[in-house]
């Protein structure tokens, strides 16, 4: 998804989304709400445009990277079971909880390149959204990703999919 949209198209898209959100939140199609919604959506779009000019978003993921989100629901179930089992084993004295910090090599790319930023951000999001792992940070200088795991296991798959060398 390259950043080739013109500002007009992006603003129109933003206006539409804000207007739909307004209608959802007010929960009515009465004429005065529809009219005020246009004004509200226009103000929000103007704010978004000003922020984007001042601080342009450096984030350009590919569709393939975004579609990796389909695996997340499965991870949520598996990891929830995993962390509950860790707590249960610790409580019953079977196996005390032994979490660990791990450092993996990660193809971080350039610090300011939009595609590399998107890859790093998605690696952090997809890994941290899982209950079993939390990313602490990605060091571009040393090309490493530091994360915490509730119990020892293979490195989370999103890291490998998005640039980790596991």
């Amino acid at each position: 998804m390259k950043n080739t949209q013109t500002p007009a198209v992006a603003s129109g898209f933003g206006l539409l989304i804000f207007y739909v959100l307004w209608i959802v939140f007010v929960g009515t199609f009465s004429s005065h709400e529809l009219l005020i919604g246009i004004i509200g959506a226009a103000l929000a779009t103007a704010g978004l445009m000003i922020v984007n000019i001042q601080y342009p978003a450096c984030f350009s993921p590919t569709m393939r990277q975004l579609l990796l989100i389909w695996r997340i629901p499965g991870y949520l179930f598996v990891d929830t079971w995993g962390i509950v089992a860790v707590a249960a084993k610790d409580l019953l004295g079977i196996d005390p909880a032994k979490s660990l910090f791990r450092v993996v090599p990660f193809a971080t790319g350039a610090k300011d390149d939009a595609c590399d930023v998107a890859r790093r951000v998605l690696a952090v999001v997809y890994t941290t959204i899982r209950p079993g792992s939390i990313v602490l940070g990605v060091n571009v200088s040393s090309r490493q990703l530091l994360f915490h795991q509730i119990e020892r296991g293979p490195a989370p798959r999103p890291i490998g999919d998005l640039g980790g060398r596991t």
């Binding site: 959802v24 949520l76 910090f101 602490l136 060091n139």
Partner: protein, 118 residues
Amino acid sequence: MKTITIEALVAAAVLITWLCVLGMLRMRDPFQRMHYIAPPASLSVLFIMLAIFLQDGLKPESFKALFTALVLVGMNTVVTHAAARAFRMAEAKGWHPAKGEEVPVKATDEPDVAEPAS
């Protein structure tokens, strides 16, 4: 059938929340405890949202519940990451980040050995 599904979803949401609170009580390390925030903030809220949609259908409140669920899932990820990084930075007293460095790496952190990804 619909009533049973709604009740099962709500019961599952409450059960997951309780198990995670008890798990959090059991853990001794703040990093370990942070893992137990994720299931209520993702699974429980999604189950409640689905139950609301089943009960109320396509009403504005259902979409507000959907938006609340999305906010909770997304924002919990961000806050967990930010807090974990903050805790690590607080532990590394006197750490000054070099250019391109985001988080201090300690000697006790385990370097990765090549394993198949899960």
